[in-house]
Symmetry: C2
Amino acid sequence: MTESSALLTDRYELTMLDAALLKGTHDRECVFEAFTRRLPAGRRYGVLAGTGRLLELIERFRFGDEELAYLRDNHVVRDETIDWLADYRFSGTIRGYREGEVFFPGSPFFIVDAPFAEGVILETLLLSVFNYDSAVASAAARMVSAAGGRPLAEMGSRRANEHSAVAAARAAFIAGFSATSNLEAGRTWGVPTMGTAAHAFTLLHDSEEDAFRAQVDALGPGTTLLVDTFDVEKGIETAVKVAGPELGAIRLDSGDLPKLVRQVREQLDSLGATKTKITVTNDLDEFTIAALAASPVDSYGVGTSVVTGSGSPASGMVYKLVAHRPRGSEGDWIPVAKKSDGKASVGGRKHPVRRLDRAGEAVAEVVHIIEEGETPDDNGRDLLVPLITDGEVHREHLGVEGTRRAREHRATAMRELPDEAFRLGRGDPVLPTIFA
Amino acid sequence: MTESSALLTDRYELTMLDAALLKGTHDRECVFEAFTRRLPAGRRYGVLAGTGRLLELIERFRFGDEELAYLRDNHVVRDETIDWLADYRFSGTIRGYREGEVFFPGSPFFIVDAPFAEGVILETLLLSVFNYDSAVASAAARMVSAAGGRPLAEMGSRRANEHSAVAAARAAFIAGFSATSNLEAGRTWGVPTMGTAAHAFTLLHDSEEDAFRAQVDALGPGTTLLVDTFDVEKGIETAVKVAGPELGAIRLDSGDLPKLVRQVREQLDSLGATKTKITVTNDLDEFTIAALAASPVDSYGVGTSVVTGSGSPASGMVYKLVAHRPRGSEGDWIPVAKKSDGKASVGGRKHPVRRLDRAGEAVAEVVHIIEEGETPDDNGRDLLVPLITDGEVHREHLGVEGTRRAREHRATAMRELPDEAFRLGRGDPVLPTIFA
């Protein structure tokens, strides 16, 4: 994927640029911040995902001949602005949370220092990435908690746009899922892939036994057989007959799971298949996963609910201009904030810190309003790392390696949270956000 | 975009192929059907979108060296299967609904006639496209009804994955929206684009008046000024002062809209800006749009709710094997169906027809179970058109032209629906689905 990402954006980002160029305000030095206004109703925390993907997209945010021709032919901006866009390459500096970090309302996780023109035109793309990827990661993290250590596989590709599906697989992996069904996520992001067969495979063959035999011949007895196409009890009998007691796993994709899982475990044991695992995949979400805690399930496959953010498909993230000053000025920054009814923002450059108690448990999100070059006087955990410096992307955040690091950081960050963060019931954000 | 779409798929599609190739069942002649199990809770109808996008993706569903290398290196399938995939090109026949058609549960809108191997590996991709695009179109159509003829613009790119955003803009346009903020949707699908400025543009300047003047200088007095950054009343006063009474429109993105809109209309009129339009964009959905029916709003901008399907971000569409027979056989097709608890399906080749009364109003979705080559004996409207014949895509469904045709067909199909289809309150599907 080396194609331009530049038109994955709202027209008004470019018309603002157009007007600012005419007025000469395009090169004012600016600080923009991305943060979430609120967590989805009842959620206690969010998990940030998307940073690694976004940094690659920012590198591809270049206007080539085709993009410029579209803008020119459709009179989106003036010719002078077309010329400016032809040379555009982000030259600013971005600091932010590590990907995988836990987030709370109001605290900036992505802070852009750039001339107005360079910072404003990234808005749509960066919000698209963070809003979706973090919606998935935030839902997935709750499912991981609910599963209590049992592995989860993401298999919702068919319930999301074909490209969203790849991003969702990556975000769920960062949030602690073990694998995905999505092959492109395997190729691009190094997420382990899984999956064996659907009901269609059984229906194609003259009998369930023929289908199971074909699958075991191709994939070995360690495969997972889907046993609920006709009758689960007969399906399991046939599965163990065909694969022997070394059958890897059986999959249940329908039925009253808590009751069914127990019966299936007993049947497998009685057939000598005591090591054969049970995986369940029937419309699960964090609540139905939690309801299976006492059932002998070995692993979960989750589809629709994880790729659609389990009821909250966008994260409420916004990107705001918070300070500016004339170009080349050594003078003070002008903090700015809008006052719109219900959407007021806090002006000024910020630096978020997670304050911990002596036991290392998080107690507050403290957002310091600071001057440029200042570091907050706070012994909490500093949440900012460099992402782009003077236009150069810090490579450790990218690709397979960046994805793996994000998954590790998520585990570390979640260990700091108090126990009540992991209750599934509705509640307020588990940490208060304090502006200091 | 000429890149391969082949890995935008679930691993199990390829492992099923792998096993079927070994068993020799891969070339059984098959019929697969896509349909929705149910409409989202309380919805009366759905609007199909995605067909034009999908047909292009099917043309790009080819396994190149990079895709094959990934599958080989990760032992996803056997070497013989790699060889088969290297030559893969869909050679079957697909008939289905026109894009933009209204749909109901159980009625197949996409019917694939192909060898098992060729048909099964399209499953994930086709469901990804239809589930997302139709979720957006179905939500958007309700908003269009609620707006009662006033134009709507889709501006939710930032609340959806960056590629979903493009598909969403297209789907909303098919469903009757007039425009989008998304530039890529303009370039790729010919959707008209719109948008002028955000709050950041006002905050950048030394005063609201400076910002408005910069915008009017660049975009002319016919532009839309965003007047709620600080104080709406002062904002409007300044807007008319700067642009004059020929100001095109003002935009409201916050506040208690029904009340505010009336005040704003009065103020504009009192300033002589009687032709200046009012567009509102504050977290709208079909219900808040309906609540503004009596307010002097001229147009709506809709974001999050339309790109996330207004509470139903996936459409519950599935793709099922319904009949097969040995390759080259002149014999009878074997209808097949699974019996899984809660997921039972209806076997056999089908042909859906929309039955109309004498006044041309739709009264039932009739799904005929037929033999190959048979046409249903029914004087209802035939819902099937050719989409791909022997591997060749019917070009009229593609690109800008296909998108425009889908939008027109949606208007035609919706005119057949009884009035109760357009009530926003919860209810059952407005047509019964009858298997005949």
